[in-house]
Point group: C2
Chain length 350, copies 2
């Protein structure tokens, strides 16, 4: 299906060489460190990319939402971590159904969640794995002290149907190891085995040797594509950027202003530290200063050529928002479209 | 299909009474002023809502992108304005196909666009309507002076296959009328009829009597649902908010912090003037201070009750981003789910 036909814009385009490089490089690093690699599929929501990650050696996938996990199980993933508090009747029924067809682990940060989870495991007739979510600095979910983590671990272990697996944190700042080690020690002292200590986050992935030997598993998502944020944080170089939004210059109303046909409905609307909304590879000195729903406003620097009709590629600030805004990813090998991959878990935020 | 079963969250939920009120109130105002109402469907991207708008008296629909227009034509809309510069081989082929099954008008801000558009009209064997896009203050697309607008109008009128219809602007600040009137007068002086002068924007919709008699047509989109932004701008009251994201409190890790299962993948990530990301109707004093992809961070005010598992409704900052993130809208009459409407043009940004 190789074709050099121009791509209708806007489109989410994957550079296959770079994707393969990114997936392989990180798997090799995880192997070198003896870390289980459990990639987060929220970034791509695409079964074909998950399949490649598993084929390279990932132990399973990480999902944020049950809907993502269902889509991954539909695609044949047999080991799924749902890194989320799962609660409520409808979600627990769905969790039981999922557990009927995959090995499932969830995270928890509250003892009040356990009854529902145990009920789901009971319905499925299969043990549900549980990791205790630890807040090691982000201030989002998670228990806030190692002692609380250990207490919740014992509460999990005491429930029929639930299997305490270990601890979980996101992201993984330097202080994370001490917290996780202390929680683990508190379990060990009272005879509770900790199999898994799961850390994650692309920005810190190349520094995670410092989390050894406490951490046993690592979850990265953005590393498949990278984006302006992970390059800014030093986790990737510009030539590792594997996802761009192909766009077209659709208006040149002034010498210093170009409009692209890629707005917040394809790039997301997260602003970068410098106040801009994406990087135009063909005109890197010309910032994207604003997004409307269907327009990117580019302030054209002298010397940059962005003539009406010109095709351009925009690097998103945050790659994880982009595939979810498309039905498919257009896959390039060099200049040629070689595949189109469905975004299987698109819209699966429930 | 009436049901009071809890809605699985997150979900995009429409209050049907309020939607009907909003659609009817604006149609009545347009009728009172003698303005053609051409609602912008980018907000809802939903054929069922477009059908209701047309049934109430809209003269046709406005779309931002060709993909939206194709979806509306699929749903039976016979008169479509594509408020965008359409260019490039693929888009022009699609435009010709669309013109074969609907009355189509496009906007232009550059003479260089006309050859392609005339070619598409020629392929279709049907006249393509054209409005000249005027920049009356936004600084996005559009010609920047009335004289340039008139020059482009004559260029359009001189092309076989293209039918000059008139002028277009967005949004519609007070200064817009003078610009549009001057452009129209320049055409009239040289014998070119201006049928349509199209203004738009929900924030200014209740002030558009001031645009008479120059303006003949008005395009509003957000008015169907309203949102935090249009309420803040005085275009709606809180009891006209017709779209909320239903969510659940999924974590209560601290007394002053609640996490909802609605993040930037369902609310969009546009920040309001006060730095917040949505309004929780059940806890209006508790601001949504941050969004991750699947979490809203709520700072819980003393007295607000946001216990683990509680269902809540979040008013989005910008409604136009929300339906596009869902496959369907859940429609409530009072407390009961009475319909589910497909978001037909979801993802149709190309």
């Amino acid at each position: 299906v190789s074709s050099s036909t121009p791509i209708d814009t806007p489109a989410a385009v994957v550079d296959l060489d770079r994707l393969e490089h990114n997936l392989g490089r990180w798997q090799a690093e995880a192997d070198r460190l003896g870390l289980a690699n459990r990639p987060h599929i929220k970034t791509h929501r695409c079964a074909e990319i998950a399949r490649r990650q598993l084929e390279l050696g990932a132990v399973g996938v990480t999902c944020q939402k049950l809907g993502e996990a269902e889509a991954m199980a539909d695609a044949g993933c047999e080991d799924v971590l749902v890194a989320y508090n799962v609660l409520g009747e409808s979600k627990l029924e769905r969790l039981a159904a999922l557990l009927g067809r995959a090995r499932v682990t969830v995270t928890v940060d509250d003892e009040a969640l356990l009854e529902g989870l145990a009920g789901a495991a009971g319905s499925a007739g299969r043990e549900l794995g549980v990791l205790v979510d630890c807040d090691t600095g982000l201030g989002r979910t998670g228990v806030s002290t190692p002692a609380a983590a250990a207490t919740l671990a014992f509460a999990v272990a005491g429930r029929d149907g639930l299997g305490f697996r270990g601890f979980f944190t996101h992201p993984s700042p330097p202080g994370a190891r001490a917290f996780l080690a202390e929680a683990g020690a508190a379990c060990a002292r009272r005879g509770l085995a900790v199999e898994v200590v799961s850390a994650g986050g692309t920005p810190t992935m190349w520094d995670c040797e410092a989390l050894l030997p406490t951490v046993t598993e690592y979850r990265a998502g953005t590393y498949a594509f990278h984006d302006r944020a992970t390059v800014a944080k030093g986790a990737a170089t510009a030539d590792e950027l594997a996802l761009t939004v192909h766009a077209t210059v659709v208006s040149r109303p002034a010498a210093d202003r170009a409009l692209l046909d890629a707005g917040s409905k394809v790039l997301g609307s997260e602003v970068a530290g410098d106040g801009t909304f994406g990087l135009v590879l063909e005109a890197p000195s010309s910032p994207v200063v604003k997004l409307d729903e269907e327009h990117a406003y580019v302030t054209v620097a002298p010397g940059d050529e962005l003539e009406l009709g010109r095709p351009v590629r925009v690097v998103p600030n945050h790659a994880c928002l982009v595939p979810n805004l498309f039905d498919e990813l257009v896959v390039l090998r060099g200049e040629h479209v070689v595949e189109r991959w469905r975004v299987d878990a698109r819209g699966r935020s429930a």
